[in-house]
C-alpha cells in the first residue's frame, strides 16, 4: 500500500464506512425473515440471502435484515415481515427469492407494499 494523499484517504473513508454501517445504529426500517424450523425447512435461508444481495446491490444503508422465530403460520412459510418507520408492518407469505427481490425493490426502495404477496397489514395484538 502506497502512502495516501488527502483525496485517497477520503475515498478510503467512504469505502470503509460501507463496511461498518451495521454498528452505527440509525435504521429506517427492518426486514424480518421468520426462521423457525418450519421457515428454514421451507427455504427461509435463501430468502435471507436474496434480501442481503438486494441490499448490497442497492447500496441502501439504513435497512436492517434480521431473523425471528416461527410466526405461527407454518403452512405459509417462508415468510418475512417488513417494518418501516412510522407505518404498520406488512407480513409477506409463501416467498421465493424472486418475490423477495421484487418486494425489496417495490417496498423498501419504492415505498409501496406488494399487496399481492402480503398476508395482511398490522400485527397480532399482544395479550
Amino acid at each position: 500500500m502506497a502512502r495516501l494523499t488527502l483525496d485517497e484517504l477520503r475515498r478510503k473513508r467512504a469505502e470503509a464506512q460501507k463496511s461498518i454501517y451495521l454498528r452505527e445504529g440509525e435504521f429506517r426500517g427492518k426486514i424480518i425473515v421468520h426462521m423457525g424450523t418450519c421457515g428454514i425447512a421451507a427455504g427461509a435461508r435463501a430468502i435471507v440471502s436474496a434480501f442481503l444481495e438486494e441490499l448490497e446491490k442497492s447500496g441502501v444503508k439504513d435497512i436492517m435484515i434480521t431473523t425471528s422465530g416461527c410466526a405461527g403460520l407454518c403452512s405459509k412459510e417462508p415468510m418475512a415481515t417488513v417494518e418501516m418507520l412510522n407505518s404498520p408492518p406488512v407480513r409477506y407469505v409463501e416467498l421465493t427469492p424472486e418475490k423477495a427481490r421484487e418486494i425489496f425493490q417495490a417496498h423498501i426502495i419504492g415505498g409501496t407494499a406488494v399487496a399481492e404477496y402480503a398476508l395482511g397489514i398490522g400485527s397480532e395484538r399482544g395479550g
Binding site: M1, R13, L22, T37, T67
Partner: protein, 629 residues
C-alpha cells in the same frame, strides 16, 4: 465486503481475554461455519467494552443485544437460537441483581446509560487492529483539518479555549503546556504519550490503547504539529503486552498509509513515533522520571522548573501528555472548543474515564462528564454495593489519592472539589469500599505500596513513608499509642512539603483523609483496642454463640488450625490460643445457624466445654400467604 445482517462485537480487551474471549471467538467461528452463516454474519474482535465484570462479553449489532459471562459451551445454542433462528437468548443476557427479567439491549442497561463517550467513542465499535475501521468512524479527519486549514497557533488556541486539562492527574491546562513548548526557541522538540499507568486497580490508559490506538496516534500527531515536533515517543509499561502489540500494529498501519512518517498526506509535515517500554516503576509516571527512563538513566525525578516543556528529553523542549488527553484532542478539533467546553463544570471540562472497582456490583470502565456526582457513579452506573452492605468510602486517584467518605456522596467529581475533599483526580482509579473495610488498614495498604515504589531520592519520601508505615502497622496490630494520630498528621504534612515530585507530595493523602473522615476508627484502634470493621487480626476474635450452635461439626472439620473443640450434640468452642483468625469457621457455618461471630474490643464470653446443644425447632411449612408476601 458483502452486506451482512449481523455483526458480533466480541470484546477482546485484557479482562475478557483473560476470561477466555479468544476461546469464545474460536467457538463462534466454528458454529457460524457449521450453520453456513459466514456470509451473513461477521465477527469483529473489539477493544474493551467497559463492562468488565460481565466478561467475556458480546454485543450483537445492529440491535445491540448484550450478552455477558459467556462460556464456550453456550455458543452452539446461542448461534442456532439467535443468529440462525432470530430468538435472542435470555439466559445469557445481563440481569441486575435486583431484577428477575434480563435487560436485552445495551442501551437500556443502567451501566451504559449515564455514560458519555468522547475518549472511548469507538470502544466496542471498531476492530482496534484495523485502521480502516478507525478511518470509517471519522478517524484522521481532525488531522486532515489541522494540516490543511489550521496554523499551529490556531490549534493551540483551540485547545486552550476548549479548557482541556491533563488527564494524568495534575490537571494542567493542555493548551498552555503546548504553547510554552512551542515558544521555546530550542529545537528539536518532542512529544511523549504517557501510558505508564501504575495505580492498583486502574486500567483506563491500557484500555484506550487496546480499544482505539489510532485515536492516540492522531492526537499525538496533532500535538506534534502544534508544538513543532517531528519525533515522538509512546511510553508504556512492559506489563501491558496486548496494549503494546496493538499500538505497535497501529503505528505500522499509520506509517503504511502515510499518516506517520515523512510528508504526511502530502502536506509537507513530517512526524514519526516509537514505543519505549518501561519496566513498571510507579515513579515513572512522573514526567521527569519518565524522561530519565527513556534516556536510559535511573528513573529518578528532578527539580522543576525548568519544566519538561522547556527542558525535556535530551535537553530539548518536550510535551508529555496522558493517553486520555491525547485521545480527546481529535474530537475537540472536529467538534470545536465551544462544544467541548459546554461539557463538564466551570473549571473541569469534558469527560473523564474511571475504573470502577472494589465493592461494587458493576465493575468496569466508565466515561462520564465532569461534575457527575459520586452517587450517580456508585448507585446508578455502578449498581450499588453487593450483598446489601453499606457504602463506606471511595478511594479516588490511586494510591496517592484520598478516601472520600459516604457523607460526601453528592460531591461533584471535578479537579477542584476532589482536591478540596483531600483527594485528587489522579489518573481515575475508583476503589469502592463497604462497611467491612477498615480505614486504618486501607491507609496501611496504600502506604505499603508507595513506600515500596518511592525511588528513594528524597529522604522525607523514602524514610517518611517507612515511618508512616511503621506507625500504621503498630496501630492495626493493636499496639497504637496516644499521640500516634498527631504524629501521623505532622509527618504526613512534612512529607507533602518537602518531597520533590508528585509521588512524595501526594503519598500521605490516604493517611490524611482517613484521619480526617474516620478519626474515630483510629481512636478505637488505639484507645479501645477495637477494630470497628473487624478486619485487623490482632484486634478481633472468632467466637461461637452457644445459643445458636447446632453442633453440625462443619467448622470443626474445616478449621485448618484444629482450634475447634466439639462433638455431636455438644456446643463447639474455639480455643483462642490456637485460633489463627483465618475466618474459615465464619465462612462455613451454615447461614441458617449463623453461630460464628466476630468480636472486637469486648471480652470473649466464656463458654463451658461439653454443653449440650439447644436444638432449634423446625419451622412449620410456610403457608401460601407467607410465600406470596
Amino acid at each position: 465486503m458483502a452486506a451482512r445482517r449481523l455483526e458480533l462485537m466480541l470484546c477482546t480487551g485484557t479482562g475478557c481475554v483473560a476470561g477466555g474471549s479468544y476461546r469464545i471467538k474460536r467457538a463462534l467461528e466454528e458454529e457460524i461455519a457449521r450453520h453456513g452463516l459466514q456470509e451473513e454474519i461477521s465477527l469483529v474482535p473489539t477493544g474493551c467494552n467497559g463492562f468488565c465484570g460481565q466478561g467475556p462479553l458480546l454485543v450483537v449489532m445492529p440491535e445491540r443485544i448484550f450478552y455477558g459471562w459467556l462460556k464456550t459451551e453456550d455458543i452452539p445454542f446461542l448461534v442456532e437460537e439467535h443468529f440462525l433462528k432470530g430468538r435472542p437468548v435470555k439466559k445469557l443476557m445481563f440481569t441486575p441483581p435486583e431484577r428477575r427479567e434480563p435487560i436485552p439491549l445495551l442501551s437500556d442497561i443502567p451501566f451504559f446509560k449515564k455514560q458519555m463517550l468522547i475518549v472511548l467513542r469507538n470502544k466496542g465499535i471498531i476492530d482496534p487492529e484495523k485502521i480502516d475501521d478507525y478511518i470509517a468512524r471519522d478517524g484522521y479527519t481532525a488531522l486532515e483539518k489541522v494540516l490543511t486549514s489550521m496554523t499551529p497557533e490556531e490549534v493551540i488556541e483551540e485547545i486552550i479555549r476548549s479548557g482541556l486539562r491533563g488527564r494524568g492527574g495534575a490537571g494542567f491546562p493542555t493548551g498552555i503546556k503546548w504553547k510554552v513548548c512551542r515558544n521555546e526557541p530550542k529545537t528539536p522538540k518532542y512529544v511523549i504519550c504517557n501510558c505508564d499507568e501504575g495505580d492498583p486497580g486502574a486500567y483506563m490508559d491500557r484500555s484506550v490503547f487496546e480499544s482505539d490506538p489510532h485515536s492516540v496516534i492522531e492526537g499525538q500527531t496533532i500535538a506534534a504539529y502544534a508544538i513543532g515536533a517531528s519525533h515522538g515517543y509512546i511510553y508504556v509499561r512492559t506489563e501491558y503486552p496486548l496494549a503494546i502489540k496493538r499500538m505497535q500494529k497501529a503505528i505500522e498501519q499509520a506509517r503504511e498509509y502515510g499518516l506517520l512518517g515523512e510528508n504526511i498526506l502530502g502536506t509537507g509535515f513530517s512526524f514519526d513515533l516509537e514505543i519505549r517500554e518501561g519496566s513498571g516503576a510507579f515513579v515513572c509516571g512522573e514526567e521527569t522520571s519518565l524522561i530519565h527512563s527513556i534516556e536510559g538513566k535511573s528513573p529518578e525525578p528532578r527539580q522543576r522548573p525548568p519544566f519538561p516543556a522547556q527542558v525535556g528529553i535530551w535537553g530539548c523542549p518536550t510535551v508529555i501528555n496522558n493517553v486520555e488527553t491525547l485521545a480527546t484532542v481529535p474530537v475537540i478539533i472536529n467538534r470545536g472548543a465551544e462544544w467541548f467546553s459546554k461539557i463538564g463544570t466551570e473549571t473541569s471540562k469534558g469527560t473523564k474515564i474511571f475504573s470502577l472497582v472494589g465493592k461494587i456490583n458493576n465493575t468496569g470502565l466508565i466515561e462520564v462528564p465532569m461534575g457527575i456526582t459520586l452517587r450517580e457513579i456508585i448507585y446508578e452506573i455502578g449498581g450499588g454495593i453487593p450483598g446489601n452492605r453499606k457504602f463506606k468510602a471511595v478511594q479516588t486517584g490511586g494510591p496517592s489519592g484520598g478516601c472520600i467518605p459516604a457523607s460526601l456522596i453528592d460531591l461533584p467529581i471535578d479537579y477542584e472539589s476532589l482536591t478540596q475533599a483531600g483527594s485528587m483526580m489522579g489518573s481515575g482509579g475508583m476503589i469502592v469500599m463497604d462497611e467491612d473495610t477498615c480505614m486504618v488498614d486501607v491507609a496501611k495498604f496504600f502506604i505499603q505500596f508507595t513506600n515500596d515504589e518511592s525511588c528513594g531520592k528524597c529522604t522525607v519520601c523514602r524514610d517518611g513513608s517507612a515511618a508512616l508505615l511503621e506507625v500504621l502497622t503498630r496501630i492495626t496490630d493493636g499496639e497504637g499509642r496516644e499521640g500516634d494520630i498527631e504524629f501521623l498528621e505532622e509527618l504526613a504534612w512534612a512529607i507533602k512539603d518537602a518531597s520533590m515530585c508528585g509521588l512524595g507530595t501526594t503519598l500521605p493523602n490516604p493517611v490524611l483523609t482517613t484521619i480526617r473522615y474516620f478519626r474515630d476508627e483510629y481512636e478505637a484502634h488505639i484507645r479501645e483496642r477495637r477494630c470497628p470493621a473487624k478486619v485487623c487480626k490482632n484486634l478481633i476474635a472468632y467466637w461461637i454463640d452457644p445459643q445458636l450452635c447446632q453442633a453440625c461439626l462443619i467448622c470443626k472439620r474445616e478449621c485448618p488450625a484444629e482450634a475447634i473443640y466439639g462433638e455431636k450434640h455438644t456446643v463447639h468452642v474455639i480455643d483462642q490460643s490456637r485460633c489463627t483468625k483465618c475466618g474459615t469457621c465464619l465462612d462455613v457455618c451454615p447461614p441458617r445457624f449463623g453461630a460464628v461471630k466476630k468480636l472486637s474490643g469486648e471480652p470473649i464470653p466464656p463458654v463451658e466445654r461439653g454443653m449440650r446443644v439447644e436444638r432449634k425447632k423446625k419451622t412449620a411449612t410456610p403457608t401460601q400467604e407467607q410465600l406470596s408476601a
